[in-house]
Symmetry: none
Subunit: 132 residues, 4 copies
């Protein structure tokens, strides 16, 4: 199993934090490894305390299913094929802000961002992905 | 980070309890500090036992995201941008009754009220906010 | 089942807090009712954050078995008759600082105090008991 | 309540990671803020997965009681005044590797390190403390 290194994870976190600062947002940024275990984390001063857990869950959710968290959220709505999948795995977060991290086409981990609108969370997570 | 004092927290609890008595309701009232840790609590005689946990979670939820719990509940509905956010942080309560507490424009904690209709819960929590 | 009233619980908390102030200690004080449910709580400024949970658990433990928490701790040591009883009920605290609260010879709840040495915790809890 | 900044927390993590590398150990390093909430985290490549949770719990434990985790562990032994305190607060870790972080004599958070012997864990945490 290919796995993210600490150097890579920290690069992803720093790129996301830099993007968050440019947007004037206060974010929590988490990176998990290929096994969904926490690898690196940073919380900006003044960021929502409730977003620590959400950032980590977004990252884990993205790696659990190797897809953007927002894609999963499309399927978990009432009437959807994965309705209320959020109660599994100790609690999933299925709105945007979590993205898989790939190296050479293989998923090596995931990033989760929380602290602003889901649009901003997703954009900042994308900045993290591009750093890898 | 500014933080609420015990004297302030007790004043908030007493104002909420007084308001609840006037309404003829039996409430649980919780105040958490800036770090979402419990600071003061009181449960009126005959108040629902299930509302102890809900009052504390409402207070924590309001501080987790620095907004009224009911506002978060608008966004966590099916199709909303934060659908099922309630599974995070060990369980959030996102219906009305939780409000941030501010001193000089800075959030220093939050109040959570539970024991009646959400309209009454919100009104009693508001009485607590006004006491600060 | 006789049960503690909010008025009584708040009187117990205030007496304990006053005693703690005289000792120059920063305490967490919790009172639970006859059903072991939280009734009143106050945390002094600067009190240990880890003692919130311990104060509540001491109060619950004292009511779970209608005895001082320290008495239970004598029995839960290695080789004792109740070895490691602490893992039950979601986690018990069996060192001093929790005491049953009685009215007319009947247990109506319990007080738990945490924030200093177990000797101080026990003494402050005793001050709460005397206020009832 | 004074609180640690992200810049300070990241400096502490980097100093601990650098010290761990010099020792040839693979560590998890966590920093929590004054409210015991996660602020920064890094896990070295090959570090024990079970030490993620332990590093975070050590940091939280050190802030919960504003003392080194190993000091608490001296008191929580069989026959000690705080026997089995570990069951509180969702699980404490009371062996060495967690230390409070202070600025101008005030506790602003804590560091927790896990991944090697407790002697190495403590030494790496100390390197983090010195960076502040």
């Amino acid at each position: 199993m290919a796995d993210i290194t600490l150097e890579q994870a920290q690069r992803v976190v720093e790129a996301a934090l830099a993007d968050a600062r440019e947007r004037g947002t206060a974010m929590n940024v988490a990176v998990v490894d290929a096994g969904t275990n926490l690898k690196a984390f940073g919380r900006m001063d003044g960021a929502w305390l409730g977003s620590i857990d959400i950032a980590i869950r977004k990252a884990r959710t993205a790696r659990f299913f190797d897809m953007p968290t927002g894609d999963l959220g499309q399927l978990s709505q009432p009437g959807g094929s994965l309705f209320n999948i959020e109660v599994s795995n100790g609690g999933l977060i299925t709105f945007p802000g979590g993205l898989p991290l790939e190296v050479d086409g293989e998923v090596v981990g995931a990033i989760g961002v929380s602290g602003s609108t889901v649009e901003n969370d997703h954009a900042v997570a994308s900045a993290g992905v591009r750093a890898l």
